[in-house]
Amino acid sequence: MVFSSAAFLFVFLPIVIGLYYLPIFRKNDRKNFRYKNLILCLSSLLFYAWGEPVYILLMLLSIVFNYFVGIDIEENVLDEKKKKTALLLGVGFNIFALGFFKYSGFIVSSFGGLFGAELEYSPLPLPIGISFYTFQIMSYIIDVYYGTVKAQRKLLPFMTYISMFPQLIAGPIVQYSDIEEQLQERKVNVEKFAAGVIFFIRGLGKKVLFANTIGSVYTEITSGDIGKASVVTAWFGIICYTLQIYFDFSGYSDMAVGLGKMFGFNFCKNFDLPYIATSITDFWRRWHISLSSWFRDYVYIPLGGNRVSRGRHILNILIVWSLTGLWHGAAWNFVAWGAFYGILLILEKYFFKNIIEKTPMFLRHVITLVVVMLGWVLFSSNTLTDALTYMGSMFGTAGNVFFDSTAKYLVSTHIFPVVFMSLSAFGAFSNLPRTKNFKVNVIVLCAGYIIIFCLCVIYLISETYNPFLYFRF
């Protein structure tokens, strides 16, 4: 079930909210939060089972196993050896489960390719959200090991943390330390609920009205012979994809944050206008913040971070970014995409720092955007060869014409949405003018969001093109 579906919007969500806010217990009673956690947990299991009836067993097994590991680590706090064994067992289990379901096919085919043999192996389908919930679980057991958080002794709050449907299948990756207290007790009030609804509708609008609308352009371009596409077609296609992936993923994150607020949780921000970045370092401070934070806290810093020799620091960056690429998908183009950013970050930090600082801000912005778009070519292509073919068309290396009738048609039919969405992605509509009258502002805001919601519903009913790009991770 996706958030942008009629079944979720008009059946699942209203029922869950209704049950969640049933006035069975007094507002600040602990039993009230136990009841709320139970509703959230059961509805999350139903939500997951809707699309993954078999793999729900895997998630439950993972939850139960790591619940025991957390307590095991804490129980052995004075015995370093046993404590470490429990941690290694936990990390090993999680990496094995993720590795088997996500990477076994990739490992076998790469191994076969290395020796020129075609190995017969058919991997199982990828369980939805496994990359997200596995990373959340690992953050928990590592934090328990370092004593940053206490082990959760009650299964229900722990299960609620891992399975919570707002962020279960496409993030943001919520670290246990961020919501440990909220799992026991959280602020639930009308203001927070209303803020959640606004976040949710904003995300829905980004996804349905923007990402879905513009996404078909790139699909249309790449379904033809991209090697023969004109330069303008190729650039226009990747501009559309750049907008699509941002609105798709940040829209989903907004919906997740909004749903979290509706249930009283505060999730961290996952996007901060990434396309206004003026360097690659800046871009990754603004894009998929929860993933970058995870890799920083659990891979980069344990490797030594930047408090090591220059050579070791460069190696650390390359390791972290190759893993970041691999996290996104089991294919070499994702590894290349990650390494591409790793190399760029090294260049920015060690070689071009002075040049970048002297470059005018506008030019820095343009260069960053172009580099990010080249990155999206690597990211969106099925293979490295496809990516290189696409890049070839962007720069006309195969004798591609500069402009043709396809480009004329695509640009003329989509230029207005592209300009509007670009302005939106650059934050041009972030601070719209307001009157001094608070009531008028509220009425205008509510009317605006109601219109956006109605438009989304109309689109959802009439359109079939409704994928979520980040589901496959």
Binding site: G51, V54, L57, L58, L61, V64, F65, F68, V69, I71, D72, E75, N76, A86, L89, G90, F93, F96, A97, F100, F101, K102, G105, F106, S109, E120, S122, P123, L124, P125, L126, I128, T219, E220, T222, S223, G224, A330, N382, T464, Y465, P467, F471, R472
Partner: protein, 156 residues
């Protein structure tokens, strides 16, 4: 504590058994779409149906051929002929959810279109077959649905 370690080991054993059962149950076929489609159309009559290219597939089904390992789709160009046959080979690790939802949407749309005024076509559409097996999605609306399904199962 020992009891937690035992619980952890039990979970590991369950995981391995779970993986074993899934692997034994869902082994994907190594056949190509061409081979599977060839076997099916040699057993059923698809006269009057024409093969659709990538653009037509995108237009008809909202499915991008490049997202899958292979797609074979034939349909009639006649408005009142509802016969069609679709075979999709999924990529490694790929979920079938998106394609199946789109096929279901297509079936529903077609049923709505013909319901009430074209009983023959409506009946055919109600008897559609949509299944997933060994890494393939199979969908057909044919007079010989059963023959098509049995050919499909046999080749896998």
């Amino acid at each position: 504590m020992k009891k937690y370690r035992i619980a952890e080991i039990i979970c590991i054993v369950i995981l391995l058994v779970f993986i074993g059962i899934l692997s034994a149950d869902e082994t994907a076929s190594d056949k190509t779409v061409k081979e599977v489609a060839g076997a099916v159309i040699s057993d059923v009559d698809i006269k009057g149906l024409s093969k659709q290219n990538e653009m037509q597939i995108k237009k008809e089904l909202s499915i991008s051929a490049k997202d899958y390992d292979g797609i074979y789709f034939v349909k009639s160009d006649e408005v009142m002929d509802v016969r069609e046959l679709l075979i999709i080979k999924l990529k490694d690790n790929q979920s079938s959810d998106d394609a199946i939802k789109k096929i279901e949407k297509r079936i529903k749309d077609k049923q709505t279109l013909f319901e009430g005024y074209a009983p023959e076509q409506s009946a055919m559409l109600k008897n559609y077959v949509l299944k997933q097996e060994a890494g393939f999605i199979f969908y057909c609306v044919l007079e010989e649905n059963e023959t098509a399904v049995s050919a499909f199962n046999k080749i896998l």
